[in-house]
Symmetry: C2
Subunit: 232 residues, 2 copies
DNA sequence: TATTCATATATGTATATACATAATTAAGCT
DNA sequence: AGCTTAATTATGTATATACATATATGAATA
């Protein structure tokens, strides 16, 4: 059809186009891999790769023996980059600043333990800090670190480097949970973020694990001017 | 090594483990495809597939000639499902209810046009509606639909079906932008969501396009009890 | 020293082939 | 009819091979 060389990208994009432009309506059974391979003058493996990518993106549904059809209820997914505060701020062309508020070994409250599925309250490090963009408060971070899984954190110096940045280099995670929500600023948060108590704030919570063991729980508070943007 | 059959999953998981457990530290140059293929007793293509998946997940960085290394600054991404309100509510075991507030053809205000990069204010459909979970307000939706790209929307009956649901079936999108933020409830929003004016709300904005043409802009407002949860 | 160029090399992709696996359909049996 | 079993079929995966392509490296050159 196209004079171009067959490529899984070409095929993927063409199929994607047919779906977007409703040549193939949702629910339609599309031709099999063999047929498409012939149509595009490509090998079945090449078509397979294209189809797998589209299935992974959620716009196709594939089943053995039954064939491939255009997703009827496309459970589509979007991605967002897991923000790393320094990069996020510097990428906007702003100057990044960091201020440590407190860092101490302390017993974690009930709530925190429960969130991390920890039985013991002890061996926890509590870090509170502030991230600024162009000298304006950008994010208030309240973090608990599990010293059982990351004992090195005892020796970490959080005066110059944020716990996030430190953890990235010392304790990679294998799984994570992210929660985003809106809330009202507490008195503490308000004074730190230079807003008024009760003002809306954008809150991100992040829990990370390695091999099922909880590493850290971060509670991240932004003033309501913050926007989390992502594309598909 | 393993007595199992070689498989790109086995290889992927094993490499993933080595990275998570810091056998290979960030920045390390890992063995080439040939070497890994030999180690796992698999073909290079199989190793390649495993490596490509890990690279796509952001934990490996690959460059031709230079080889593959463990990402130094893992720009990791997480995914979230693009919420479809009815499914979201029913998945929680709640009863979904829908209430149309208004649907009319109207000129869009400056702001809306700008967001959609539209020159003309006209040919727009403005829909406002409310989604409830177990009879409690769950989301207030304020949506503009571009009738130039989706003329069928004139004939759509938004009394029984939300515009989101209708659009899913009639105008698939090829690209989208999502914005999440916190805000304060306006008087209108407050009375609809049964909260007080000024209370924090979680706001999602969604713009979709087909082939570069804007389809719709949705402004979605949740009470602050709402949580957007996602895993990695 | 700096620049250009050729070369080597690791990854990227395409292909034919083969077999595995899930799931539907048909056949056979009670 | 109801059940079990076998054949069929589309996708899933693995492999050997071949060539494409980006790029690091060192050699040749200005």
């Amino acid at each position: 059809m196209t004079s171009e060389r067959a490529s899984f990208r070409t095929i993927r994009d063409e199929l994607s186009r047919r779906i977007a432009e409703r040549v193939w309506l949702p629910g339609t059974l599309i031709p099999g891999e063999e047929a498409l391979a012939e149509e595009f003058g490509a090998a079945r493996a090449t078509v397979n790769r294209a189809l797998q990518e589209l299935a992974r993106a959620g716009i196709l549904e594939r089943k053995r023996r039954a064939g491939t059809r255009v997703a009827l209820h496309p459970v589509r997914e979007a991605r967002f980059v897991i923000p790393r505060i320094r990069q996020e701020i510097e990428a906007r062309g702003s100057e990044y600043q960091y201020r440590l508020l407190s860092a101490e070994i302390a017993d974690a409250p009930e709530v925190i333990c429960a969130r991390l599925s920890l039985l013991s309250k002890s061996d926890m490090m509590h870090v509170r800090c502030l991230h600024l963009a162009d000298r304006v408060p950008y994010q208030y971070e309240d973090r608990w670190i599990n010293l059982r899984t990351v004992p090195d954190a005892r020796k970490a110096d959080f005066k110059t480097m944020g716990p996030n940045e430190w953890l990235v280099g010392h304790a990679p995670f294998s799984s994570a949970e992210f929660i985003f929500m809106a809330g009202a600023a507490s008195a503490d948060e308000a004074s730190l973020l230079q807003i008024r108590e009760g003002d809306p704030v954008f809150i991100g919570e992040r829990i990370t694990w390695v091999k099922g063991e909880p590493i850290t729980l971060a509670h991240l508070v932004h003033p309501s001017s913050h926007r989390m943007v992502t594309h598909l």
